[in-house]
Subunit: 134 residues, 2 copies
DNA sequence: TCCATATGTCGAGACTTGTCGAAATGACGA
DNA sequence: TCGTCATTTCGACAAGTCTCGACATATGGA
């Protein structure tokens, strides 16, 4: 969307889907999404997901290379955060295909994408506290 | 969405991403999206993508089991069509996570999702003819 | 019924991915 | 500098996936 990452080409899209097609990694990404914008340190993710730290580290590497998350050192910890813009760019890459083919197909798709749970934006549907489900 | 398919649970989401994380399958899905709502017969897809018919058949099976496409017999051919609602449901499954975590994060994401290329819907951005790029 | 066309299923080989113990790196405090 | 904590890298094995030849099934027409 803005800078460093992802004008999504087919290969980037492929990597993104591959990254999200594994249970531990999908869980990791969802966990990080729920903890935006503070993020979580690698060890904390491993503990919550009950995955050995070295296994998780491998998965974090895959997600990171795909552009779905990024990390930042903070003392001894590496804080990981979800990169929502990348997710968005990937979705748009697919939507754009549909769009170019037919707006009759595209419009209802986009329409239903705009009004899930809380988009009204006047009334936030949840507080900004991270939830404490794992 | 409506009926048969996909209140997306994590496993369905996993299957969907796994289906789209392989080059031939992503190409197949995009091709079908561009050919909504007419669809394409299996043999025609194999020809355009230059993939042996049995290999393609396997991939069509994966996409089909994931709910991303469906088929309909027409004479000797099986016509395949993209199931955009499933794609949509999958995306919403992820967006909902973000939404529940924080509307500050959610709102801009949804906002940018609503206004790509042609959503205005008064002026279709493309004709309904399928494009002829493969 | 027989043949041609369209598509799917099976099975084997090559390749890729996931997992986890053990060792390495990096950061902090004493 | 040394010890400790947080995380990553390495290496090996098990498990899974992709591909494609050969065969099977389904449809329609002569």
């Amino acid at each position: 969307m803005n800078d460093s990452d992802s004008l999504p080409d087919p290969q980037a899209t492929l990597d993104t889907f591959a990254a999200l097609s594994q249970a531990t990694r999908l869980d990791t990404f969802r966990l990080l999404v729920r903890h935006e914008p503070q993020g979580l340190p690698a060890g904390e993710i491993a503990r919550r997901l009950e995955v050995p730290h070295n296994t998780l580290s491998t998965h974090l590497g895959v997600l990171s290379r795909a552009g779905l998350i990024h990390s930042q050192r903070e003392g001894r910890s590496l804080i990981y955060r979800a990169n929502l813009e990348h997710m968005l760019a990937t979705v748009q890459f697919l939507v754009r295909d549909c769009c170019a083919g037919s707006s009759v197909v595209c419009d209802p798709l986009l329409a239903s994408l705009t009004v899930p749970d809380c988009s009204a934006s006047a009334t936030p549907c949840a507080s900004q506290e991270p939830r404490n489900d794992d």
